[in-house]
């Protein structure tokens, strides 16, 4: 995680504003709307694992907005929570916007009340007010503002309703210093009495902490970290300062006189906020206690119901895969056609310009061809799969997957939230690995991290589809071939899932021994996705992403391969030497030297592996632009590809070393060469092993 202090050093804006709230209340949506940035949003808790910084201007003032990770309270000890608490407590942003979900205000108020202990510069933003209206929940925001003594703004971030008002209030609070919080919480009298000596002490010393009451409570709870804060922010050694120890002792004496031990103290504090939140909620929400989620429960009966949960999971995945397979064919052929026409045109243009033929060959056969192949083969499936998956995410289905699979993960001594990281891994392994931060236990997080690249990422999908379509589709009665392809792809993914379970289990029995820890998973309310916007936006995002990547990665790779194929060392080209050298080894695993070379050269991105294979084959054949994707098969069959080669390539594509971006992310997350190496080795060894087994078995027939 980027250290948050570095965020402040670079803050040059007039004011710093922090966004705080429970997980999954729409902080990121508000952040995006205000700053015009595109932080990833989705309907599941814990999605913002790093925190984002953005800027906006309002009435000639510049503001820096910081999107802090979602937390439930300030009482536990997760990393996210510490970051949020320290930020508000010690860095003192000019305003804190507490974002609440209008559909479950009571629980959100629990956090809001705790934040109010930390700072007076608070604005409460009641988001998802439209969802609440739909569920016939009415919230009296004026009354709520009166009770809390802070501005309360109802907002619907999706349609930007209320954001203008929010900006206005932020300006009033920061620029004119009006509307500061007047809220004062009063605890149990014994607690208040016990806090007093510490508060009085804190007021006698120069301290950069704006919340002595909160600080005193934490010190009473003997929280180590707060003792270190005393040293850091109050310039005082807690172990030697007599006046401090005296005050602490006085406070503790009061507690022990009333027989309040540590657990009891904690209960008193936690219960105080919860009861306060309950009381306030009862004042401002009508109707009082109707259950408003009938429809959600009906949907849940399907998605997590006893008999339907697994069939629906499989069907949904199959449906998305089928749409991807069917939908990608046409645009793919279209792009192939377009690019090959363009190639002929470009070559003749360059020739007419009098450019030397070697340079033309380098530009066209080296750079241009691989670039267009990546776009033509890879882009259509990616641009279809990803948006569809985003839709599932926005609806709120992913946490249900985690719920359904948690039992299996528990058997493997891992965490159910690993399912969420696996789902993200289907999009991109690097993102999945970053997402592992949602898992609290370090051991379980490491398991999820090490096994993530066993899930085929979006960059491997198109090649999987291509291989399945070319080699494994047979006419089977009247079943449409797209259906068979879907089933085979589904099988491949199920194999990935199974091996993820197996490896997780193996790790928890060997390197990462331990028992499954406790876990809490929120199943958020279903939200109607903005279908059109989501589709268009993620389609554009994906397209740009693939284009950028193919320019950055595929073009240089094309250059390298062209050079390897044209520089000769003695009799043969470098490329020939390389493939020839790897060939005997690769044959052991049902592959060949060319395939293995492509996998090695394809480390920067999985998308370019197959185009590299094609390029190597074509560099030794008559050079001819491809018109259709099925012509690829002819080229492969004309060399020495058998169905076994295709099967082994497919398996190796599922299980081989992670791409360089993923490896870098693993290193960033673990800060350890050892774990990065293990993350490299696990899928690699697994892939080689499986290919070896397949080759041995098939050699008998």
């Amino acid at each position: 995680m980027q250290s948050y202090s570095s965020y402040l050093e670079t803050a040059s804006a007039d004011y710093t504003i922090a966004l705080v709230g429970n997980p999954n209340v729409g902080k990121s949506t508000i952040f995006n709307q205000l700053t015009g940035l595109k932080q990833h949003t989705g309907n599941w808790p814990g999605k913002t694992v790093t925190f984002a910084k953005g800027h906006y201007m309002y009435e000639n003032q510049s503001y820096t907005l910081i999107d802090l990770p979602g937390i439930y309270s300030l009482a536990t000890h997760s990393k996210e929570e510490e970051v949020t608490r320290d930020f508000i407590c010690f860095k003192q942003p000019d305003a804190v916007i507490v974002v609440c979900d209008a559909t479950c205000l009571e629980r959100n108020l629990n956090l809001a009340l705790q934040i109010l202990e930390l700072t007076k510069h608070v604005i409460l933003c009641v988001n998802l007010i439209d969802e609440a209206h739909k569920k016939k929940i009415h919230i009296d925001t004026t009354h709520l503002a009166r009770l809390l003594g802070i501005p309360v703004i109802p907002v619907c971030a999706k349609s930007s309703t209320g954001l203008e008002q929010l900006l206005l209030e932020v300006m009033r609070l920061t620029h004119f210093k009006t509307h500061l919080s007047t809220y004062k919480s009063t605890f149990n009298p014994i607690l208040e009495e016990a806090c007093l000596p510490l508060i009085e002490f804190l007021q006698t010393i120069p301290c950069s902490c704006a919340c002595p009451h909160f600080f005193a409570l934490k010190l009473l709870q003997n929280e180590e970290i707060f003792l270190s804060y005393v040293k850091q922010y109050c310039d005082l050694n807690p172990n030697t300062s007599l006046s401090f120890l005296e005050a602490l002792q006085k406070s503790h004496n009061i507690l022990s006189n009333h027989r309040i031990d540590a657990t009891c103290l904690q209960d008193l504090i936690v219960t105080h906020y919860i009861q306060q939140a309950e009381w306030i909620a009862r004042q401002v929400i009508t109707p009082k206690d109707a259950s408003m989620d009938q429809q959600d429960r009906k949907i849940d009966r399907l998605f997590i119901g006893k008999y339907t949960r697994f069939p629906i999971m499989a069907l949904l995945l199959a449906f998305i895969l089928w749409l991807t397979i069917v939908g990608a064919n046409y645009p793919s052929d279209l792009l192939f056609n377009l690019f090959s026409r363009l190639e002929t045109f470009l070559s003749s243009l360059l020739l007419n310009l009098g450019i030397p033929s070697t340079l033309i060959s380098l530009l066209i056969e080296g750079v241009y061809r691989i670039l267009t192949w990546v776009v033509a083969v890879m882009l259509p499936p990616m641009a279809i799969f990803f948006p569809l998956f985003t839709l599932l995410e926005d609806v709120g289905y992913l946490p249900r997957i985690a719920f359904n699979l948690d039992h299996c993960f528990k058997q493997c001594h891992a965490c159910g939230k690993q399912a969420l990281t696996m789902c993200m891994g289907l999009g991109c392994n690097a993102v999945g690995i970053e997402g592992c931060r949602i898992i609290d236990s370090p051991r379980e997080r490491l398991i999820a991290l090490l096994t993530n690249s066993l899930m085929p990422c979006n960059g491997r999908f198109p090649t999987l589809i291509l291989l399945i379509n070319m080699f494994f589709i047979t006419n089977f009665f009247y079943v449409p071939s797209s259906l068979i392809a879907t089933l085979l792809l589904l099988l491949a993914i199920l194999l990935s899932i199974f091996l993820t379970f197996f490896t997780s289990w193996l790790l928890s029995q060997t390197f990462l021994k331990g028992l499954p820890s406790s876990f809490t998973l929120e199943l958020p309310p279903y939200r109607k996705p903005q279908i059109i916007q989501t589709l268009i936006r993620s389609l554009l995002d994906r397209t740009l992403y693939v284009l950028r990547r193919s320019v950055c990665v595929a073009a240089p790779a094309g250059l390298v391969i062209w050079l390897l194929a044209h520089i000769t060392l003695g009799e043969h080209t470098l490329l020939y030497e390389m493939t020839d050298f790897l060939d005997p080894f690769a044959r052991l695993f049902g592959l060949n030297g060319i395939i293995l070379t492509a996998f090695i050269l394809g480390i920067p991105a999985n998308e370019i592996i197959f185009p590299i294979i094609m390029m190597i084959y074509m560099s030794s054949n008559t050079i001819m632009p491809l018109l259709q994707s099925h012509e690829i098969k002819m080229i492969l069959l004309n060399s020495d590809w058998t169905p076994v080669t295709a099967l082994c390539t497919l398996i190796f594509l599922l299980f081989h070393w992670p791409c360089s971006t993923t490896l870098l992310t693993i290193y960033k997350e673990t800060k350890s060469i050892k774990w990065t190496t293990i993350a490299f080795l696990i899928p690699t060894l697994l892939g080689f092993f499986l290919c070896f087994v397949v080759t041995q078995i098939t050699s008998f027939f």
Binding site: R107, S291, T520
Partner: protein
């Protein structure tokens, strides 16, 4: 009549009130953070595969918990 039972014994669709938490330390805090304190009403919504995890409705939110944690929550049910 009412009786104290571990939360695990609640059937799907059944409601109860939390009477006490047996856990200590971090798990206790975590449960309290979710709003589970004495007096909170809680409803068993859906049991997961193999009866674990279990989804509960707590203060209008659906939260799934694992069996070990649920066992430490004692609730009061009214029975006829």
């Amino acid at each position: 009549m009412s009786q104290n039972i571990p939360l695990t014994q609640l059937h799907e669709g059944q409601k109860a009130q939390v009477s006490m938490l047996l856990s200590t330390g971090n798990i206790r805090r975590r449960l309290q953070d979710l709003g589970i304190v004495a007096g909170t009403s809680i409803e068993c919504v859906q049991k997961g595969p193999g009866g674990d995890p279990i989804a509960y409705k707590i203060r209008n939110t659906i939260i799934a918990l694992r069996l070990e944690d649920v066992n430490t929550i004692i609730v009061t049910t009214k029975f006829k």
